[in-house]
């Protein structure tokens, strides 16, 4: 606990220093790196300690604030999230120092950016450790505002400002729901501390209302499908290391919040897990379908975050269902799958955003169809992006498979334990997860293949230089973590299972963690065999090819010799079979025409996938709200005296309310 508090102090000191330093870039960098390292390492140690010993700590700094207390604590659930936060923020921070170094030239002062990055980190740490609702909401707000400023780093661009504004509005709508939810919880429990809330009993109707508010409030942050519209705009707008943190850990705070609410309230109506499963299916399939239609790499990754949130939600939904019906083992597996996917997604999505950032930094474009052949110039970045892609597709050898395997397992075990109505939904969830897997594979073979392989489609992708070591090293570490969990999943899975077991109230049958972990040994063994087989085949191939003639030539063009890089298959064409199949759901818009005559003239064809919820639902809601607001304009007359009058009227009303 001392280590944890010390890390908070280090981070706050770093923020203070950076806020004071102006125009001394080397100093700012040193202070930033020191504070980041100290804060992350200390928090990391305390999180690991908490997970290993399974002890929970709490610190209550009494604080004179109505209902608020500086009350922080660390239990296994917080520790899993804290682990993801510290690892990713530390590595992305290191990367960011390298990423921004040349990108903005020596004259621009970065102390503001570094300071805000530390504010974001500190608030993330506080969000997962706060044990008081007011402190939680303060940290939540600090997180939202600091990330707004980080997103609008390149604020000279119009679309970046727009994206930032959209994010700010969306996140505050969410925060509003959270205030209402915590007030409901607090008034019932008689205190804003989480301890008292856990002890309190909530009637089912109230817990249903709380659950819906939590889904709305936390769902905006997490990016559940109809609430996600800020996400695909904000992530591409931000600098890559910030996108990595946003997508890797910040949106997971929504998931953390939902799990925390599940822990606080414990008993929910039947439809709540159904709702979670439904959201999981829609977000998962919708996210990956939209991702498939994207032409910009960071936007594609942003939509994939929605997909992964869907997978996590499927795990949560199964866990909650099992918890409500006293299947403790399935609940533990479902929650553990969700938690492990939270951690894994932080790792591989961080890796993907950082390596995409490396490409963008060199090529100055994120348009997939104008890249190609980048692997030849950026070999390291290419390998790292490949590892990230394999992991996000949930393929064996990397960590994504382990968590998806756990989620699958909870769903399949639900099949033969749950009642009929749940089995039907769970069957659909399994099919959805299978579809997500196939589509994600298509999407990432598209992204990796079109960007890194083949030949350059435009001059952007020619004559590049590999990025500095300061950027490669953090990514390598992330890739190493992905592979480690993929091959030796036991440690991390055990941590997640411990945390998962603490979510559901201890019933009669405590899940047997050893038993759940046993098949993991089979996975390790099989992967060992796979590597062994690959090794043997590579050796065989080497030996055989030594004595055989090997020549190099151009790609076989089926007899046609005049091919150019522009004749390569494009990413959009690659995705088109599926995009066309789902064109109604994706609102595919095409403009331009196809070539017509025998000797066709120059034609132009553009296709775009429209986000249905943004263009057909929220757009209408905005218009509606604007109309209401324009009617309310009469109150805003522009005279300060009138406004003072309003204040007095309001005070008077409060007085009456208090007196009566």
């Amino acid at each position: 606990m001392i280590a944890f508090l010390a890390s908070l102090i280090f981070l706050s000191a770093g923020i203070l220093f950076l806020a004071l330093i102006r125009n001394r870039p080397p100093w700012a960098r040193v202070v930033f790196l020191t504070s980041l390292t100290a804060g992350c390492v200390l928090s990391f140690i305390s999180a690991v300690y908490s997970l290993v010993t399974q002890a929970s700590f709490a610190f209550d700094g009494h604080w004179a604030w109505p209902w608020g207390e500086f009350y922080v604590g660390l239990d296994t659930l917080s520790a899993v999230f804290l682990l993801a936060v510290t690892i990713l923020c530390f590595l992305a921070g290191l990367y960011g120092v390298g990423y921004l170094k040349e990108g903005c030239g020596p004259e621009k002062d970065l102390s503001g950016h570094f300071c805000l990055y530390l504010v974001l980190l500190l608030s993330l740490v506080l969000v997962v450790t706060a044990r008081n609702a007011v402190l939680f909401l303060l940290a939540w707000e600090a997180m939202s505002v600091s990330s707004y400023f980080l997103i609008t780093h390149y604020d000279d661009k119009e679309d970046v400002r727009q994206a930032g504004l959209l994010y700010l509005v969306a996140t505050h709508v969410g925060t509003f729901c959270l205030w209402v939810m915590f007030i409901l919880l607090g008034t019932r429990a008689g205190s804003m501390n989480f301890d008292q809330m856990t002890a309190a009993q909530f009637p089912l109707a109230l817990s249903g209302v709380i659950f819906v508010l939590a889904i709305l409030g936390f769902g905006v942050k997490a990016g559940f499908l109809p609430l996600h519209i800020w996400l695909p705009h904000a992530h591409p707008a931000a600098p890559s290391h910030v996108s990595a943190v946003l997508s890797g850990v910040m949106i997971k705070m929504g998931i953390y919040g939902i799990i925390r609410v599940i822990m606080l309230v414990k008993h929910f109506p039947e439809w709540c897990p159904m709702l979670l499963l439904g959201i999981g299916i829609i977000s998962g399939v919708g996210g990956v379908l939209y991702a498939l239609g994207q032409h910009e790499i960071k936007k594609l990754l942003a939509y994939h975050s929605i997909e992964n949130i869907g997978i996590i939600t499927l795990g949560l939904g199964t866990g909650l269902w099992a918890q409500l019906h006293q299947y403790q083992a399935i609940a533990a597996i479902g929650y553990a799958g969700a938690l492990l996917h939270v951690f894994n997604h932080a790792m591989f999505k961080g890796l993907l955003f950082l390596s995409a950032g490396s490409v963008i930094r060199q090529t100055h474009t994120g348009e997939i169809d104008s890249l190609g052949g980048v692997m030849k110039y950026l070999p390291w970045t290419g390998v790292l992006f490949l590892i990230g892609s394999l992991a996000i597709c949930g393929l064996p050898l990397f960590n994504g498979f382990i968590s998806e395997w756990l989620v699958y397992r909870s769903l399949f075990e639900g099949l033969f334990s749950f009642p009929l109505e749940a089995v039907m939904l769970i069957g659909f969830a399994i099919i959805a997860l299978a579809l997500i897997g196939g589509l994600a594979l298509m999407c990432f073979t598209k992204a990796f293949g079109a960007v890194f392989l083949g030949q350059a489609r435009s001059p952007h992708a020619l004559n590049l230089q590999e990025n500095p070591r300061l950027m490669i090293a953090p990514m390598t570490l992330l890739a190493a973590i992905c592979t480690w969990i993929g091959i030796f999943p036991n440690t991390m899975a055990a941590f997640c299972l411990k945390a998962a077991a603490s979510i559901s109230p201890a019933g009669k049958n405590v899940p047997d963690i050893e038993n759940i972990l046993r098949p993991m040994a089979g996975i390790t063994l099989s992967l060992g065999l796979l590597t062994g087989l690959c090794f043997c085949l590579v050796l065989l191939r080497k030996m055989a090819l030594r004595s055989l003639p090997v020549t190099r030539s151009e790609t076989w063009g089926c007899g046609y010799r005049g091919s150019t890089p522009r004749m390569q298959y494009t990413a959009s064409s690659f995705a088109s079979p599926i995009v066309l199949l789902f064109r109604e759901a994706l609102c595919l818009r095409r403009s331009g025409s196809r070539p017509k005559q025998i000797f066709p003239e120059r034609v132009h064809l553009a296709s775009e996938v429209m986000d249905a919820s943004e263009h057909f639902f929220w757009q209408r809601v905005y218009v509606w709200i604007r109309e209401i607001c324009s009617r309310l304009k009469i109150i805003q007359c522009g005279y300060a005296q009138m406004y003072v009058l309003y204040i007095f009227i309001f005070l008077f009303l409060i007085l009456i309310w208090k007196v009566t």
């Binding site: 052949g373 069957g427 399994i430 293949g449 087989l533 055989l548």
Partner: protein
Amino acid sequence: MFSVILHVSFALFFSPLLLGVVAKTKAFFAGRWGPPLLQPWYDIVKLFRKGSVYSTTTTWVFKLTPVAVLATALLSCIFIPLGTLAPPVYFWGDALFFVYLYGLMRFFLIIGAWDTGSSFEGMGASREAAFSCLSEIILFMDLILLVMVSKSLVLCNMLNTSFFSSWASMGPVLILVVISFFLVLLVENARIPIDDPNTHLELTMVHEVMVLDHSGFDLGLILWGSAVKFFVLGSILISLFIPRHESFMAGMVFFMVGMALLALTVGVVESIMARLRLNSVPHLLTGGFVLALLGFIVILLKGM
């Protein structure tokens, strides 16, 4: 370790023969004598003795692809019973591992195709990815049905010989599983009516065009990998039919006969059907999914 090697060599040895049976059947229907049964073997051996040509566009990804294809195909065979040979490795949830292993194989095949920068290969990769998305959901629906019938997540328990007794109670469901799984088998192994392995026009190919640029040793590895995949998926289907029996040899004989019959069926289907137009393949796959879904409904109605 010994059993792993036995399993792997069994699959390695017999898988090309299966393709030989298919070719023989097709030749019979065409009124020809056809290539010898061992022709796929001769092809592989011939390829292993040839040098390779690599495109200047390609990177190491292209060279890794054949290795990854054969390695994943071989690893997949250790989870399934081959006749009376029990699988050497099994664990709770290995069915999912098995399916995702094929995902790994497909991933490498597709990026290998991207690596050449050829538009033909890109086209084939795109089709392969799209069709297998759809076939994967049929596969998972079948998996759900088998899991619900056998109450196990271990692949060999889902397929093992005592499973035959469930034909009595779950016959209709299993028939639907067999039909839809046969469709998956055709899609995954690029057979007619989804894909024609013998077409001469690159534009119409799916699977074959993805490996257009591989040559010599590498092509041999890929062909062998595809044969093993056909063998493994086929033996899943045959394992569903193997009755309970006592002796080792009888089971093996039954298994081999079953596999030959399967190859014969595939050959007959290939001979009497034409390849579907590309845009009607999703319709066929949707049909397969509907069949599997029907099985799910039946199993729910029967009260599991």
